[in-house]
Structure formats: C-alpha cells, structure tokens
Symmetry: C2
Subunit: 765 residues, 2 copies
Amino acid sequence: MKFKNLTGFLFAIISFGLINVASASALDDVMKARGLTQKDLLAAAKTYTPTAGRDEFIVFSSGGQSGQVIVYGIPSMRILKYIAVFTPEPWQGYGFDDESKAVLAQGKIHGKQINYGDTHHPAFTETKGVYDGQYVFINDKANPRVAVIDLHDFETKQIVVNPHFKNEHGGAFVTPNTEYVIEAAQYAAPFADKFVPLEQFNDKYRGGVTYWKFDRKKGRIDKSKSFTVELPPYSQDLSDAGKGPSDGWSFTNSFCSERYVGGIERGRPPFEAGCSQKDTDFLQVINWKKAAELVAGGKAKKVNGMDMLSMKTMVDAGALFLVPEHKSPHGVMMNPTGKFLIVSGKLDSHATVYSFEKMMKAHKAKKYEGKDPYGIPIVSLKDSVHVQVEVGLGPLHTQYDSKECIAYTSIYVDSVITKWDYCKGKVLDKLSIHYNVGHLMSMEGDSVTPKGKYLVALNKLSIDRFNPVGPLHPQNHQLIDISGDKMQLLYDMPVPLGEPHYAAAISADKLKPAVRYKSGWNSRTDSISPFKTRAGREKTVRNCEGDKCTTEVWGTLIRSHITPEIIEAEAGDTVIIHLTNLERAQDETHGFAMYGQNVNLSVEPGKTVSATFVADREGVFPYYCTEFCSALHLEMQGYLLVKPKGYKAVKTKMVEGQTYTKADYDKQVKTNIATQAVINGVVKFITERNYKDFPTAVALVEDATDQLGFAATWQKKSEASAKAKDWQNATLQAGQWWQYQVKAADIGIRAKSYLEQNKAKKIKK
Amino acid sequence: MKFKNLTGFLFAIISFGLINVASASALDDVMKARGLTQKDLLAAAKTYTPTAGRDEFIVFSSGGQSGQVIVYGIPSMRILKYIAVFTPEPWQGYGFDDESKAVLAQGKIHGKQINYGDTHHPAFTETKGVYDGQYVFINDKANPRVAVIDLHDFETKQIVVNPHFKNEHGGAFVTPNTEYVIEAAQYAAPFADKFVPLEQFNDKYRGGVTYWKFDRKKGRIDKSKSFTVELPPYSQDLSDAGKGPSDGWSFTNSFCSERYVGGIERGRPPFEAGCSQKDTDFLQVINWKKAAELVAGGKAKKVNGMDMLSMKTMVDAGALFLVPEHKSPHGVMMNPTGKFLIVSGKLDSHATVYSFEKMMKAHKAKKYEGKDPYGIPIVSLKDSVHVQVEVGLGPLHTQYDSKECIAYTSIYVDSVITKWDYCKGKVLDKLSIHYNVGHLMSMEGDSVTPKGKYLVALNKLSIDRFNPVGPLHPQNHQLIDISGDKMQLLYDMPVPLGEPHYAAAISADKLKPAVRYKSGWNSRTDSISPFKTRAGREKTVRNCEGDKCTTEVWGTLIRSHITPEIIEAEAGDTVIIHLTNLERAQDETHGFAMYGQNVNLSVEPGKTVSATFVADREGVFPYYCTEFCSALHLEMQGYLLVKPKGYKAVKTKMVEGQTYTKADYDKQVKTNIATQAVINGVVKFITERNYKDFPTAVALVEDATDQLGFAATWQKKSEASAKAKDWQNATLQAGQWWQYQVKAADIGIRAKSYLEQNKAKKIKK
C-alpha cells in the first residue's frame, strides 16, 4: 500500500469508520487540485465564513478618490457596502433625491458642485477613548471637507467645508470624547480666497489645524463652535489626539518644512527634491484644550467667517511648540496609554518613540533648542525621545496591539510589516507583503483598548496578485494574523473601486444599525419628512403661478405597485415626486427610475424621498421600481404623461386589452381558494412551532400577516364587484387579491424554511 | 486517553512524526473556535485562493442601478473591479476627463445628461457561439441604451441610445458571431417622441426588438446598419439568439400581453393585477437573418432616424410568429445545441421545454391556432412543447451545464435551485438558497460550450446572511459546486454596491488585458491622442480671442512630479490641462486632483487625458497626484495660480525657505554614494540570478533601469552646479538625483524579493 502524499496517508488512516471517507479524500483531492498547502488550509479555515456567519470586526476604509467609504468584514474580507459620501451614487439614490442633494450641496466650493472627494482617514466617534459605534468621520483631501456618517443607517448626514484651507490631508482624527474632529491642512495656501504670488510663500501662505466641534446630541458638526490654529507653511500631515496623561494635546506632523516651492517647468528641481532636503521636519504639538479656552476668551479672529487663533497667540499661551522628527514622516500615533508617540520618516529606516512626559518636561521648563522662523519654540529630539529603532527602509505608519508595548510598522520600500517592542526598542518579527504598503490597521488600534488578533496591510500595488483587469489595478488589502508570536499572512483582498488610504476597524458587536426607518422619515435630516404620505392619502396636485406650473405628487411604494401609476403634467412643469416606502419588512427596499429625466431613487422601508425635475418636453416617460421586490416586481410600473402646454383632452374611453367574464372571475376565485389552503398549511406549520423564539421568523410572520390583510381588502372589493355583476373589475380585483396571497405565501415559505433550518421545536397549544 | 472530538482524535493519530502537530491541532482549534464543520472546511478549500493565486473564471455582473459592471473571480468570489459604464466614477476619472465625458455624452436623452443607468444583462462577444473574450455589452433599462466595454483594458468605449424605445429590459444578448446585439423593449410607449394618451395604448403604444449591428473591426456598434422589429404593446422581456440548427432566429418573451393599463390612484386595480390575469403570455419568435435581408431590400422605414420593420412586413415574410408561454415568464434560454428552448412563468411552477424543430415544423406548415390582435400568427403550445416539468414555485431563469441535458432553474418563491434533466423531463436535485433568487449563472452557460463546475445564484435578499449595514442591504451571490451529482453550497458573497440582475462568466484564460497603453493613448477612442506629450516637451500656452482667453497645458506625470508644477492663468480663463503618464511600469497609475474645480483624473501608464474647466475666480488652487505612487508621492504637487483679470506682476524675487551650502551638497553626495552601493548590491543579486526567466522581474528591472537613468541626468546637473559653486541648486539637484536612486532601490528590492520568493536560481556568467 503506497500513499501519494501525506494527506492521502492521513485520510487512509482515519478511513476505518472514524470519519466520512468521501469527504476526507474529497478534501485531499481539492487541496491537490488547487495546489493548497497545509498552511493555506489553515488560513482558509481562519477566514472562510459560512452562509449566515458573522464577522468579528467591521472595517471602514477610505475609498480614496472614489469619494466613498468601503465597509468590509474581518476575517472574511468580504465587502459589505460602499457608502456614498462625496460622490453621487445612484444605487443609494445619493445625489439623485432632493434630500441627499442637499447634503452634497453643503459641500460646494465657492458655489461649484464638487462630484468627488479624495477620502483618506476615517475616524470613529469615541467615548473616553473607546470606539462607541455611533458615527464615522471622513475627510476629503482635494477640497478640504469633512463628512459625518451615521452608523445607525450607514448614511452620510453632513459635509462641512473648511473655510481656511485649500487642501488637507490629516483628517479625520478625534479627541477622546469626540469633543473635536481634527483636520490639518496639507499644501500651504493663503487663507484669503484670492491670488497671492508664490514669491510670497513664506509670508502669506499658511498651514493650520482645524478643530471641528462635534455636537453629539445632534450628530452634527457645529461650525460656529469650531476653530483653526494657524501654522507655518509647512505641509501638515497626519494628526492624533493625546489620551490619558496626554489628553488635551494633539500632535500633527509635517513635511516640506524647507518651504520649498518647485517649478520643474522653469528649470527648478521639483517639489520632491526640495521638500526632502533637510534631515528633519517638525512635529507640531498643540494644546487644544487651552486653544478652546483662548477661543472662548475672545482671543480668536474671524477669518472667512470662522474662528482662528494666530501662532503668536498660541505660542504666548504656551499652547504650541515643535519637536524635530525624521524627514517626510507619515503618521503620528499615540499609544493606548497616552504616554508614547511613534513617528517615522518615509525616507529613513527608523521609527522614533517620543515620550510625552519628556517633551512636556522640557516644554514646561522652557528648555528649547531654538525657534522656527515663525517664532515657535523647538523642544530638542534629545529631550523628547524615548527610543529609536531600525524598523526597515521607508517606515510609514504604526499601529498598536492589545499586548502591551507591541507595535506594527508598515515599511513602504521594503514591502514588509515589522513587529516590534516600542518600550524596549526591539524588533520581534518581519513579514513580507505585496507590494508597497501604505497604512496598516489593527483592530480598534487607534483607541485606548486595541483588540489585537488581526492586522490589515493596505498595499498600494497589486501587480501580479490577482487575475488581470487592465491597466488600472485593484489595490490589495492583506489580512494578517497577529495572535501568535509570528505574524501569519491569511488573505489577499482586492479593492475593486477606489484607492483606500487608511481604515479603521471596530468590534462588530458595537454596531446595531436599524433595518427600517420610522414611517415617512427623511434620513438625511433625521426627522419626519413634511412629504410623508400614508396609504390611501396619495395625491397629485398641479399649481400654477402665472406661467410657472408645478405638478407635485405625494406617492407611496409597496409590493408591487407605485401609487400613483399615472402622473399627468404639462410640458414646462416643474415635477416634484415625493415617495414613501410603506414596507415594514427588512430588506424590502423599492427603487424608482424614470426614463430620460435622470431620476433614480432608493427608498428603504419607511423612508420618504423626493425628486424634482423640469418636464421640459411633451412625451411618455415610463417609470418603475428598480429593486426586485416580489415575483411581480416587473409589473411595478407607471407612466408620466407630459402633455403639450395647454393641451385639451379629447374625451375617449379606455378600451381594455382583455375583457373578463363570470367564468374568468370564478376561475380566479377557485385559484385563490386553493392558494389560501396552501397558505393555511404554512401558517399551521409555523404556529405549531416556537417561532416566537426567532426574531427573524417573527418579522416574517408580521410581514405575511400584513400581506394577508391586503388580500382580504381586495377580496372584499372583488366580491362587491361580483355582486354588481361587474365581471371585469371583479376578475381584476380577485387577481390583486391573489397577488397579495402570493406575497404572503412567499414570505410564509421563507419563514417555514428558516424554522426548519434552525430546528424550531413543535409546541403544545 | 480521551479525545474531545473526532478531529482531535484524528490529529492525535497522525501526530507520531507524520505531520506537524502544531498546525494540525491549530486547524482543529480554529475549526472549533469558529464553529466550522467538515463541510465548511471543504467549501473553504474549494474557494480559498492564496496570495498570487488565480481564479478559474471571471464574472461580469450587471450592477443594476449603480450603472456599473462588477467583475469578480470564481471560485474565490473576490471582486476585482467595478467598471464605470453609465455613471460618472472619479477613481477611474470616468465622467471627469474630457475623453470619457465624450462617451457619457453619447448617452444623452433629448440633450439631457443621464448620470446613472439601470444595467441588467451583460453579454460577451461570441465567435461561432463561443465566448471570445473581446468585448462585453451591457444595457440600461431605464433609458434604453447599450454600452460597449473593451476587455483589452476594461473600459467603456461607446454608449448608443435606442431611438425607438422609452424603456427596455431584454438587452444585451448576442447572435452567435456577434453580428447583432439584441435589445428588446419593455414598457410599451409610442415610438414618436410626443404625448399620446393612454386611452390609445392598444393602437399607438408599441414594443419591439432592436438588432444593433456590431462592427467587430472597429469594436463599435454601427447605428446606421442597425434596425428594430416592431412588436405589439406587450411588455417584452428577455431574449436569446438561436444557435446551430436555430441560428438565424431569436426569441423574446413577454408579459402583460393583456395590455392592461393600471391606475390604482383612480380606483383601478394596479398593473400587477391586470398584467398577470391571463394564464399565458407570448414568446415572440423572430427570424433576424430574414429581417436583415428585408432591411437590405428596402423594406424598412426610418423612424427617428433608424430603420424599423413593421409587424406586417415581418409576418408577411414569415419572419415573425408567437408561441404561448406560462404567464409572467422571465428569461428564455436556448440550450447549447440550439435545439431546445426553456421558458418558465414566475407565477407558475413549471418550466416548459420547447422544441425548436417542432415549432418550426408547425410554422412552416402554417399550422396556427390563431392570430393575436396585431395579426401575428400563433403556433400552439401543443405543437411546440417538448416537455413540461414541475420545478418549483416561481421558476425564473435557467442555465445549462457542460453535461448533456442538464439544466438548473432558479426558483424565486421557494428560494431553491432545481437541477433537472430537460431531455427526459426529470427533477434531479434541489438546493436551498438565501433568499429569493433572481437570475442564476453557470460558467459560459449562454454559449455553445458551457463549462459546468460552478453555478452562481444571484439572490435579491440577504436579510440575515451578513453583518448588518443599515436599512439598505447588500445582495447575496451564492457560489454552488455543480461538479458532483448533488449541488453543494460553497460561498456567500455580499454585493457591496448595486443590485446585480444578471451576470456572465468566462474562462479566465480567455482574457489577456493590457497592463499599459501605447504612450499618449486616448483610451476612449483607441487612438493616439492629439495631446500626447513627451518628456521635455511640456508647455503652457495662453491665447486670447477678444475677451475669451484659454490657458492650455501639455503636461506629463512621472514618479514623483507633475510637469508643470506651476500653472498661471487669469480669472475667467478656460483652462485645459492635458496630461500624459510617462510610466512604463505596471500599476504605476497617477491621479490628478485640483482644489475646488471638480477636476479629478486617473492616468494609467501611457494614457493621455484632458480636463477642461473655467477658472472663474482668482485664487490659489493646489493640485496633486492622488495615487500613492512612490515614497515621495505626497510631494507630487503643484499650484494653479489664477490672477485677477489683467493682473500686472510686481517684480519680486523668491526667497528660499531654506538655503544650502557646500557642506549640504557634500553631505547629500555622500548619501548618494552610499545609496548607490546599496543599489549595486541589489543589481548584483538580480543579475547573478536567472531573472530573465521571470517576466515580472524583467519588467521591474526595466523600470529600475529607467529610474537610474533619470538619476544620472540629475547627477550631471548637480555636478555642473557644483562646478559653478551654485550650492543651492547643486544641493537640490543632488537631492533629486537621490530621489531617483530611492525609486530605483524600491523597485530593485521588490525584484529581489520576487526572485527570492520564486526561488530564482544562481546562474554562471
């Protein structure tokens, strides 16, 4: 007896009745056929998530210039949602319904609509330094803006435009109780919205850090209570807020403290040469609590309508100083205890661990090594460093483990992740990644309670990792197991849309999103919409003021018809359509798309949305539901009829395409009675089981009961028509009665299957 | 000795030196901790794809109302790309650069820009009925349009607007040699672009099928050679082309042949009741080859500028007839041999297998059971059916296996997939899916050579399958193993953006996309751009005609600077920026985003793109590269300076933020010499190995050699400046010399790691 390989032998051993032979050899065959090693199998077991399985962590990743936020699960690495933030996105109706258009309009720059954002750094709301799962903030580097996403429904609620900057990079980061969202400038520019020659760069161009006040109760940023701290025209980079002993302070690093201005087209060496000439740049250390007091004390000036504190005011108050850092750093990360700060220069091989205690000691003693050209005092590297460690070529970003003193640094040039002890200053492990990692992310790694377990390397290049898809490649997020002493690569995830920069992961159990809205809800303002429409209260109203006419529709959506099914308007009318989704069932979203008018809405259960457009020409414009919501989804349709201006109707009677007789009616009723028998069987099955112990089943039963209620309503209508011998209507109404029966049966069968699969028990009545 | 479970026992047995104990018990521990069964482990092994692994099939899925096409791999179920088609998408620069704006502009409806599409059915080009991997077509249901995607670069090249329809559903489907792309109408409407009362529905509203001529050589649809066949105002649904014996014919099903017009708001039963009242609808059978001859013979009339054949012309030519089909069907699928056609009604439990031979026999014998109200003859069900099979409640769509006579039908209401023998009419297996499946898809299932192996269920609801993400859920694509007798569920994939309707899968080895463009390429027209710019030929030109001024820039992008770094214009100027990516390296895409002007470009290696905007106000507008392209990526920046109209410059000299001395120069040169030593070591390592056997390594070496060439250029410049004792420039130029060294080192190290990991051999010189 000879075995082709170890696994074959293994399965031969255990085939004596101990385990299912077929499945064992099947595994062997599959591994052979697919070239999987035992290590691969272990990685597969660590990441594969069977149907209905749950991920342990949920990642919110920036989508880069896609302008979106990407949501995925760990360890399955399955992408769950793209949240539209700065870019219109039709699946979500974002930028198509009036409600979300209003959110996007908040983000206009000098009145110009911006239809993208370059998102970089997401940040969760925190309470006492712990992620609380309420909101996520995300920035736009290109057009300095910050957006607020509500984790109650995963929707963008607000966009604020920074009135002081022309570019930013270092947003969003939060203070430990989300008092402020920190947004730092990047490419220096004049604060004034006017032309200033580059020759005046040193004097008139400026950087800064904005502290956006977050109103937790309203779930919105309050611009009137926000302020900016003026900084030199260095390129500010990332920030982090202090915590514990360092709470009250924030840290922003920088590059190009040379203040070099390129101009390769005129013979000057480019920015990249002049901005990386000095060995060090500056870490900018700011006392934001003191700054807030200065603002409250009237020390700020209004610049472009928002408070700003000058460098001088800050320096005089002892609330601003600098510390040298290795050149071209990216990322400044406060450790979970708030005692140490890690910074590394991308053109260097060291990571520097700063001691907050040390730098504060020097600052308090006014022990400075000098001042920068703008009068900001400089605490020396010597007086602030805890330890410096050789971590690899091109260290970029550091994240923290749940284990004390353990950090991970992404190494861009070497394409590795370095695990090291930042207390003792000792490298512990290195893992190759593919290729050229930017940020990396550990679970709740920015909080005071990192969760360990996993790390994600956000790699900028994928090259040969995946099946090719043309010149524009996906990026590659690699999942790494950090639970043991040695890091283990688990999974390569292509990012199919966007160029993520940074991401943040939260324990899945902290998220409790809703599955429906209160009926008639404007999800963008989080309030009952004035256009909420109840079943039976639908209406279309046409009003003219002089030549200007408006056709306004208050409509509803339910499986599977749109009310109204016919809308009449005249050419030139402004048409406003308000739609409320009457469904209570989970996942019963309806869409609404209309020919030729750029109208496309997504209406989740309970939501009310509106679309406004000008019907600028006569014609016939079909509309329909875009979501496959029931077997009769394709019949969820209607027509907008735009008549010529001043059109006088010729009285004509509709000739039905099909006429029905008593025989048709009787046949339909027979079908309905048979269908009801099937439904009764399903109802019996369900009610004889402990379905009330299963929330999913309870929700399905509620939905089915609703559908049966609608069926009963149409049964009555059809019986009345039959009594009046109106067989045409009687038959059609009996048809609608049946439609609701079919929906009830569909849902009932789903509940039955669910109970069977989840082994519901028979109960005694 | 007691074992906690079978797996524990198994690993105990094999722990006597045969296998690594740690990893075996690790697998056991992981399975226990994650609650995985042996079946789950097998599914994991069948789908898990280690780093650099390849998928066997590539799926192109419609993105529904996202207006995109989703590309993912099987069996890994990892999404590789979202291709922008009907919706502007900034990551790809789609709808932001002038070149792609021109593609989107082709899709305007009556001059209105439509910023979304409701994509439904992708179709690959075919040669002799086999997928050839050249192009994919995708339709827009809402605004009847068809788009052409080139698989050479995964970009959208063309959008055509249907001039006859106001809505469609049944596109895109192709004839066996892609002579035509078939697009059928859905909601009937008047052909004329004007108001026609619904009372005239039966007489003036019409459906139809359009046959778009595809010019394979140009890779574009030729509207002038395309035509529409007029059909009754039934709601046309999906289509399929015949193949083999049925080549030359196409088949389009329909619903609402009742021609019912709803109006629930005026007391009428809704569309869903009236459109599903009759037991049968009509399959529309069309001889497209004959139709093409009729058009060539001058039998068509121009309607809205495109040829149309009337129903009468088609019926008279024997090129159009009807066959009854169970009511509200979705999908009509010709089997691989071209002999059988499967249709099923969503409100029924049967699938009907039609015999093409039988229906043709009756048609040729003019054996009809009557005519519809539009004079189209009807072949009876009896005279065309091969067999009818009870497949389940709400059968929707059928796909074919590689095994003869085997089909799979998605069952919407029951939420199952039924495997059955369509020759013998026998159900073989059923598998539960979650929940409410729409289409399903087998590998190359629409071609004459289906590949078997896998099936994907495109489920409309996910409800409890994934971690919750708010009221709007992802859809769920479930991967099913069909290689054995019984179907096995392998994987649940959430769809994070869009509502896919149908998908098509192609063998991965048929796709050979490019990784770069020819230098200066306009990827949308597939030709050299007139704005192609070579290195050193960059320029900015300002021209005025009267009051109207244009500032036009011919620029380039390369790691890591934009040329020009400073652009000057005056308020009111139209600014046109052309950018060519000079990179040859794979995956070295550069982006270009500018503050406040809604400018965001994606420039893949070799590509030339343009952005046009009006600089309507004075100010300072930073711009930068949005892709993390090198360690100095953040320094890849520049400024657009918009001066007030008629601004006269005050002569000022730039004061450098930092001045450099001979000592600085010497220090930089010392660094460069040390860096060169590192590079030489890497070069030695590579050239001593058989790197030429690895195309990836060869490409990296080419790229590194380019970078070293640039380094040499700047070395010369700096040495010249040093000779002239211009230490400021000498230092900065030496810095740029070093920047190129760093890039070369980065790439060289990547090549070295690649060779190490791929076990390259030492060679003798």
